[in-house]
């Protein structure tokens, strides 16, 4: 078997497409499964509401599936486009597949939480069906944001001409960029879903609190998405900063490590901040008078949970600019 550069480019396009769709299917499948499970629970609790519950499940699953459709689009582009053969292109194709595949996991899982909770909410509080559906859709749409960041990174990688850049350390920067955006999307996607799930249950529990619950959900989700933004930031720096050519391994390893550091470091804070906001939203639905304290505690808790993400950001920046 000959391994010329053309073959290698094709192999990396196929591998990138496989990883993209393979990883990308994980989250949406789990999310849709959770939605269906909760819908079953809701129908068993309130069979007379089955029509509305099915409708909510249909719409919720359609939205939860978006992240995996992003992955499908990127995989198809990787499979059916003729890329100019080069060693940098090998890194580009693998990185774009990894970015979108990993980036779709969190959003797929996260979107399933509010969809399932809205089904349960409809069984508990049929009069709030319309508002539950709206809240679920807003929550699910925000959950898709990290996957959109990963999609943007994938597209930039595929459609930017890196041929004028030196092979080393650019290959590592490109791989780091994909890993940073993809991995950093996992936590915030799940965290955002946890907040939206509780807000749907909260609205069903206390319909009068619908506006503050939705507003707090949006605030909580916005803060939990920040580590995905750090991932995107590091990814952009790695893609667009020009690095001097180097025959040594160390600079390349530093750039790859920067992407990994930010990507992995963003997973925990995204989920942790989502948990903090989840309980605050739950608290507001139970005790509306404590909204001020609950919001304050949520923001302080999220800021503390965020600090580990900031450490990762700092180390990634040090690896890029100092080492």
């Amino acid at each position: 078997m000959d391994w010329d550069i053309q073959t290698l480019t094709k192999v990396s396009a196929f591998a990138g497409a496989g990883m993209c769709m393979g990883f990308g299917a994980i989250g949406a499948a789990i999310g849709e499964g959770m939605t269906a499970a909760q819908a079953n629970e809701a129908v068993s609790r309130s069979p007379e509401q089955s029509g509305d519950i099915f409708k909510c499940m249909l719409v919720g699953q359609a939205v939860a599936e978006s992240a995996s459709i992003f992955a499908l689009v990127v995989a198809m582009i990787l499979l059916f486009t003729n890329f100019s053969p080069s060693y940098i292109m090998v890194a580009v194709l693998l990185s774009s597949g990894l970015s979108m595949g990993l980036g779709a996991i969190g959003s797929g899982v996260g979107s399933g939480f509010p969809a399932g909770a809205a089904c349960i909410g409809m069984a508990r509080q049929p009069a709030m069906s319309g508002r539950l559906m709206t809240n679920m859709l807003i929550g699910s749409a925000v959950c898709q944001t990290p996957a959109i960041f990963a999609l943007v990174t994938s597209f930039i990688l595929i459609f930017t001409d890196f041929s004028s850049y030196p092979l080393s350390p650019t290959w590592a920067a490109i791989l780091g960029a994909g890993l940073s955006a993809g991995l950093a999307a996992i936590g915030p996607g799940i965290g955002g879903g946890l907040v939206a799930q509780t807000s749907c249950l909260g609205i069903a529990r206390q319909p009068k609190m619908v506006t503050p619950v939705t507003n707090l959900m949006l605030l909580g989700q916005a803060v939990s998405q920040t580590t995905a933004i750090y991932g995107l930031l590091i990814s952009f720096i790695l893609m667009f900063k020009s690095f001097p050519a180097s025959a040594e391994w160390a600079p390349a390893a530093a750039l790859l490590a920067a992407g990994l550091c930010m990507g992995i470091g963003a997973i925990g804070p995204g989920i942790g901040e989502g948990m903090a906001a989840q309980k605050a939203v739950d608290g507001v639905a139970r005790n509306s008078e404590a909204i001020g304290d609950l919001t304050r505690i949520m923001l302080v808790g999220q800021a503390v949970a965020e600090s580990t993400g900031i450490y990762s950001l700092v180390i990634a920046l040090v690896l890029i600019f100092v080492v």
Binding site: D52, K55, M57, S68, L72, F80, M133, T211, N215
Partner: protein
């Protein structure tokens, strides 16, 4: 399953109307490939949504768990293959724009979101608006 059918009808017709109107604007601006890509993507988005809706009760009401599992898996494989068609067509043919084809395959989801956001922001329900201002 009347509510399901109504939901399918509502969002599919909204998606198709939007694609046709936007496509017509593209054609007027002499951007035929953009229009074709958008309409192609939207058509497949509609097929996908209808398939989710039509297989949903069958999956749940199926007599055996084996049949239900087969239906669910088969539906996923079939739908994903279906969604790949407009993307591959747009990549292979210059008559269809890739970007608008990609936008088209999310048209139903966009319509669902737009419909609910419109209700959320521009609802004429005075009680809801009062609650919004009070809170």
């Amino acid at each position: 399953m009347e509510p399901l059918r109504q939901t399918e009808k509502k969002y599919c017709s909204l998606a198709l109307t939007t694609a046709i109107v936007v496509g017509f604007i593209f054609i007027l601006a002499a951007q035929k490939a953009l229009a074709k890509g958008l309409i192609l993507g939207t058509l497949f988005s509609i097929f996908n949504f209808i398939l989710i809706g039509e297989t949903l009760p069958r999956r749940i009401a199926s007599s055996s768990s084996k049949k239900s599992c087969f239906l669910a898996l088969g539906s996923i494989f079939f739908r994903y293959t279906l969604m790949a068609v407009p993307v591959v067509t747009a990549i292979r043919s210059e008559n269809y724009n890739l970007w608008t084809a990609i936008a088209g395959i999310f048209m139903v989801q966009l319509m669902i979101l737009a419909d609910h956001l419109r209700d959320y922001f521009f609802s004429t329900d005075s009680t809801r608006k009062d609650a919004l201002w009070k809170n």
